[in-house]
């Protein structure tokens, strides 16, 4: 029978040390990524009266708060070259990638523990779980992006070809969330302390990123900008503001951001694979 020829032989043995990523296995299970992502999206707004509208309301409400507190009361200014009146658009342009990142990281860090019933019952490449947790935020993001475009029209912002960079910037934000999420989700299986740390981590991270304020506040001289660039979300947000509002383009800090993300992602993948064999026993 041809089926027998294609049937792979699987070896069960205790694994030692670092384990190859086995991306082919991951590819074979790509439909499961789709279904788990779809489940997360589908379930999130079930039995909520406003449903998917929440995807829009959340960033818009935060934008209003930011505009009142930071824009009016604290008198923070947008980047040089952007009219002060644009503060709402200026903050929303940063809030969208930030919320995408925040939700992705939040969900992925608890994803393994949240899917414990799957981990202990069925085999599939475990990487699928944080992958789909990260991807599940994209629909929300796309919906709120439409709202941002509407708001930009209302403020008379002109659209530029730089918009075409957005998908790459979104990818960078998701990769950042995935990189950190891989580390945290694997750690969370063993140490539930992670769950307690994540909200604090995200709050601190937001203030370390130019979401509510302009990057102009960071001194251009000395080591500060360099340190600031270690945060990949700085590059993402700068990129968004540049592509949408035409502020100054991301500089060489972007390179540091990308190198950071790749280093985190690769190490996260291998750490995850190394811990993977213990998930079912520890979760």
């Amino acid at each position: 029978m041809p089926a027998e020829i294609t049937t792979p032989t699987v070896y069960l043995r205790p694994s030692k040390g670092w384990i190859p990523l086995n991306l082919a296995d991951l590819w074979a299970y790509r439909e499961l990524v789709y279904f788990l992502t779809w489940r997360d999206i589908k379930v999130r707004y079930k039995q909520a009266a406003l449903g998917i509208l929440w995807a829009v309301l959340q960033p818009v409400m935060i934008m209003v708060v930011f505009t009142v507190i930071f824009g009016r009361l604290a008198g923070l200014k947008p980047d040089a070259g952007i009219p002060e009146a644009w503060y709402p658009v200026f903050s929303l342009a940063a809030l969208l990638p930030w919320q995408l990142f925040q939700a992705a990281l939040q969900r992925s860090s608890v994803s393994l523990v949240g899917n414990a019933n799957l981990l202990t019952k069925v085999y599939f490449p475990r990487l699928i779980i944080p992958f789909s947790a990260v991807a599940a935020g994209l629909v929300d993001f796309l919906i709120s992006l439409v709202v941002l475009f509407v708001l930009m029209l209302a403020y008379g912002v002109s659209f530029s070809w730089n918009l075409l960079w957005l998908p790459l910037l979104v990818l960078l934000a998701l990769m950042t969330a995935l990189a950190v999420g891989l580390w945290l989700s694997a750690l969370n299986v063993q140490y539930r302390d992670v769950q307690q740390i994540v909200p604090f981590l995200l709050q601190a991270w937001m203030y370390a990123s130019p979401v509510a304020y302009s990057i102009d506040l960071i001194p251009a001289t000395g080591p500060w900008r360099l340190l600031y660039g270690l945060n990949p979300m700085t590059g993402v947000i700068q990129g968004f503001r540049w592509a949408l509002l035409g502020s100054s383009p991301p500089d060489q800090l972007m390179v540091i951001s990308i190198v950071m993300v790749i280093a985190l992602l690769v190490s996260g993948l291998f750490y995850f694979r190394r811990m993977e064999r213990k998930f079912a026993d520890m979760v």
């Binding site: 089926a3 027998e4 020829i5 049937t7 032989t9 699987v10 070896y11 069960l12 043995r13 205790p14 694994s15 299970y29 439909e31 499961l32 789709y34 279904f35 788990l36 779809w38 489940r39 589908k42 379930v43 079930k46 039995q47 019933n117 799957l118 981990l119 202990t120 019952k121 069925v122 085999y123 599939f124 063993q190 140490y191 539930r192 302390d193 064999r277 079912a280 026993d281 520890m282």
Partner: protein, 426 residues
């Protein structure tokens, strides 16, 4: 290519007990634990000594399964059956040893894995199918068949949280039953649903075996094991106790590990934590003179008693017995609060030590060996404790109706019926 579906050599699996008892570690534990270990290591003469905190759930198991074979696996609760299946299904890794699996494994370790209560039946079929390793096209193709088999057709677009537990399980089983793996691992699914559906399930399992696929079948239902398998493994305390033709394996299983003195006692370590506050102490079979006995006579009444402790009061508790033949077929089930007066009086039981006792009337059971199972539960609230094979005992048929003819009588009961013979013509 070899004609073996599964080959397993010296498979062992070790668990840390601590991790199970505490659910999970915290960083603080690790920090203090690491400090302890460093101190330990600095002490001269200390060697690792971690054996105290670990148990071997599986120890040195070797066997193979031919392609197309239906192999039964039996063993008491906690013997390591589930761990073995988890290792074979690649859910967890062995600690030692080697396994080789030729073909796609589909596991029914627990039906309904990944079902989401908020999603509809239709949505869950796709989700669950994907989790079990089916392709989307494959699920679409079999969708109608799955729905029909599950008998939930008209509720297919209702969230499964509104399903009755029977419907839920039927749907879950249907998805799993339509997987087409080369090797199917089945654990305890036949407890699903009503008798009619169980029969369908058994039929489906039989079909799978007929199609030449390999099946590993784990069950406590001896009659199902006997019907579906020719060969069976008996697992005892993580080790392979025997492998043989199923009738022999079942006999071995039923006659080993039970107390044969007519009394079964439970050490506190044997009782799972979720039984709290219920704790079984002893189950005894007493003959007509009140003596604890392994053998009772069919023609005399006997007493079955379960002694237990309640650490806290329980409301709605019922303590009962199952009686089974050694073939695994139920003879009867009875609870101590079956009588309305008893239910009134004992529905709330304060903490304390109790004995629930019942009398088996004379002329009830046929000669042979029987198994008593124990169940302590609150109806629809919680099952505190269950041991389906707590003890076995023998019924001696001497003097029972019909023993004038020295032939075995079919059936589990042997009542002394009041026959009238009416002569109509002479």
């Amino acid at each position: 290519m070899s004609d073996l579906a599964i080959r397993v050599e010296h498979l062992s699996k070790q668990y840390r007990i601590g991790a199970q008892a505490e659910r999970y570690d915290t960083l603080r534990d690790v920090i203090t634990g690491t400090a302890d270990r460093v101190v330990q290591r600095l002490k001269p003469g200390a060697n690792g000594g971690s054996a105290a905190n670990t148990i071997w759930a599986l120890r040195d198991i070797s066997f193979d399964v031919r392609r197309g074979q239906v192999l039964g696996i039996i063993g008491r609760n906690g013997a390591g059956k589930s761990t073995l299946l988890k290792v074979l299904a690649r859910v967890t890794e062995p600690t030692e040893g080697l396994g080789e699996i030729n073909g796609r494994v589909g596991s029914l370790l627990e039906v309904g894995t990944g079902f989401h209560p908020e999603l509809t039946g239709r949505e869950n079929i796709f989700l669950n199918g994907a989790i079990l390793g089916m392709k989307r096209t494959e699920i679409s193709r079999k969708f109608d068949e799955i729905v029909e088999f599950s008998e939930v057709g008209q509720f297919i677009d209702t969230p499964v949280k509104r399903y009755s537990s029977g419907m839920y399980l039927r749907l879950a089983f249907s998805v799993a039953a339509h997987l087409e793996p080369e090797i199917l691992v089945v654990d305890e699914v036949l407890a699903v649903g009503d008798a009619e559906f169980q029969r369908k399930c058994m039929g489906k399992m039989g079909d799978v075996a007929q199609e030449g696929r390999t099946v590993l079948f784990v069950s406590h239902n001896m009659s199902a094991i006997l019907r579906l398998t020719q060969e069976t493994l008996v697992i005892e305390k993580g080790q392979l106790a025997m492998r043989g033709p199923t009738p022999q394996a079942v006999d071995y299983y039923l006659s080993h590990g039970y107390a044969t003195e007519g009394e079964r006692t439970w050490e506190s370590g044997e009782v799972p934590a979720e039984a709290y506050p219920f704790r079984p102490v002893a189950l005894r079979v007493r003959d007509v003179r009140g003596k604890v006995a392994d053998t009772i006579r069919s023609t005399e009444p006997a007493t079955l008693e379960l002694e237990y402790c309640l650490a806290e009061s329980i409301t709605g508790l019922r303590v009962g017995l199952y009686l089974m033949s050694t073939r695994g077929e139920y003879v009867f089930t009875s609870f101590d609060t079956d009588a309305p007066e008893a239910f009134e009086r004992y529905s709330a039981r304060p903490a304390g030590r109790y004995i629930s006792r019942c009398t088996l009337p004379a002329d009830l059971l046929n000669e042979g060996r029987y198994v008593i199972g124990v169940n302590a539960s609150s109806y629809r609230i919680k099952r505190y404790f269950q041991d389906e094979q707590a003890i076995t005992f023998t019924v001696d048929g001497a003097g029972a109706p019909g023993t004038v003819w020295p032939e075995p009588r079919l059936g589990a009961v042997r009542p002394r019926l009041d026959w009238q013979i009416e002569v109509i013509t002479e």
